[in-house]
């Protein structure tokens, strides 16, 4: 029951002709004179919240740079030092010549941050999900997951060849029904996210994890969009809801709050370390460059003491959410639940026009469209940064008001 219509057979054997409908959609959109939303170039980056795009100074409101660590002076110093001391890259796999002192220190920082026994660093967040899920859930096992899960989760499921059983977004009862129907004796993994990045809503992890445990399932939670920000120590939604001890595997990324690139898994499972030898996306790729793990480790340690920044980020999220609601925009959540505020557009055409209008005002947000979005929605996704000032958030609201009225999304 594939939802993609069967493509017309390629007359000349061109394997790329299956993308013709997408090429057509894109050309139609660009023919209307709209700037290509998926081809923006940041000519210069001035700070975590400002860049030059198309020659214009632009407020960045769609970068997931939640804690503004990309230009933190301590983080930059650590990176420069590692670059000088250890070189530009490792040229090797973690299990061969690619584990440097910095990789161990980065994993130490993660173990301390999460207060867990084991940490494993991957070259990207995508690979962390791909690697862990495909390695622990194989043929004959069952993965029960939220239908709105990230692409890296679905790809991990497909790679491991487990039976994949999705349930309706954040629907506790639908999840339980599926767990109950899994054949006796089969291995079970429940995969959840703390914050879902499209609408910025939070999962009812407390209830869901209790049910998963009742049915004997292991639990993996992707906390990519909550690390450093949600929970008393910034460990994520599972910490906030008091169930982090029942999570078997937490997946995270360095490309959001941590401010660089890379992914990880932390766990208390006593056999966790064997995964280093059997997890293909960990083994068969080069490890992160020394400068990257040095910046990540420094950033993670600073995030442990980021309570003031976290408080300001919440204020920003609430201010933007309330301002946009008051202007008459339809948002992904009725209350602010995370640092993501998703503005729902009536359709792709007006979404793209609005995106362009905002860019010309000097504001960058993410344009998210099907199939990446739930319910085929077109979204203008805003992600706030702890470094956004109150004045910047107010300026953003002014830009949304002008662009929204010009495009006719609000009255």
């Amino acid at each position: 029951m594939n939802d993609i219509a069967t493509p017309v057979a390629a007359p000349n054997g061109d394997l790329l002709s299956k993308f013709d409908p997408l090429i057509q959609t894109r050309e139609t959109l660009l023919a209307s004179g709209i700037e290509d939303p998926f081809n923006l170039v940041m000519e210069k980056v001035l700070s975590p919240t400002k860049a030059i795009c198309n020659g214009r100074e632009t407020i960045l409101l769609g970068t997931y740079n939640y804690m503004g660590m990309t230009f933190d002076p301590d983080v930059l110093d650590a990176g420069k030092q590692a670059l000088a001391d250890f070189g530009a890259g490792t040229t090797g796999s973690r299990v061969l010549n690619g584990t440097y002192q910095g990789h161990k220190e980065c994993e130490d920082a993660l173990r301390e941050f999460y207060d867990m026994d084991h940490a494993m660093v991957f070259s990207t967040g995508y690979q962390a999900n791909l690697g862990i899920i495909s390695t622990i859930a194989g043929k004959g096992d069952y993965i029960v997951l939220d239908i709105d899960s990230h692409a890296s989760i679905y790809d991990g499921c497909a790679m491991g060849r487990a039976e994949v059983v999705p349930f309706k977004h954040n629907d506790i009862e639908a999840m339980e029904k599926r767990l109950r129907r899994i054949p006796e004796g089969a291995g079970k993994l429940v995969v959840l996210e703390g914050v879902y990045s499209m609408l910025g809503d939070v999962a009812p992890l407390k209830e869901m994890i209790a049910i998963a445990k009742k049915y004997g399932a292991m639990v993996l939670v992707d906390e990519a969009h909550s690390m450093g920000f949600i929970g008393e120590n910034g460990r994520g939604v599972s910490e906030e809801q008091g169930v982090i001890d029942d999570v078997d595997f937490i997946i995270g990324t360095f490309s959001k709050s941590v401010g660089t690139v890379g992914g990880f898994c932390v766990s208390n499972h006593p056999k966790f370390d064997i995964l280093r030898l059997v997890c293909r996306p960990y083994v068969f790729t080069a490890s992160l460059p020394p400068s990257v793990v040095a910046t990540a480790a420094t950033s993670i340690r600073k995030l442990q003491h980021g309570a003031n920044k976290r408080a300001h980020l919440w204020e920003n999220s609430k201010r933007l959410h309330k301002g946009l609601t008051d202007l008459g925009f339809q948002l992904g959540t009725s209350e602010p639940q995370s640092a993501i505020v998703a503005v729902i557009m009536p359709d792709l055409e007006r979404g793209a026009m609005m995106w362009e209008g905002l860019l010309k005002e000097g504001l960058y947000v993410n344009l998210a469209r099907p199939p990446a979005t739930p319910a085929n929605m077109t979204l203008l996704r805003c992600s706030l940064c702890a470094d956004h000032s109150v004045e910047e958030v107010e300026a953003v609201l002014g830009m949304f008001e002008r662009a929204g009225k010009a495009v006719g999304v609000i009255d």
Partner: protein
């Protein structure tokens, strides 16, 4: 449950999803004839799963393109 009984129950379930009132035959495809998008597929599959108390995993869904294949797959699943 016989395959005919399974067929009858699925026919009842598919009705609210068959917005254009297409005639359902074994060869009727979900993507092309019924124009189901991914959301509709999810809701429709959930209805069938609840009705028959079965799981139709995404792996199994990938092999089901038309109505006849669905009836036959559900018949096998609820029997096992």
């Amino acid at each position: 449950m016989t395959e005919a009984e399974v067929d009858e129950r699925i026919r009842g379930l598919i009705e609210p999803f068959n917005k254009k009132g297409i005639d359902i035959a074994p060869g009727t495809t979900f993507a092309n004839d019924l124009e189901f998008d991914s959301l509709t597929v999810m809701d429709f599959v959930a209805e069938i799963e609840d009705e028959f108390d079965i799981i139709i995993s995404m792996n199994q869904q990938a092999d089901i393109e038309n109505y006849g294949q669905l009836v036959s797959a559900v018949h096998k699943l609820q029997d096992s």
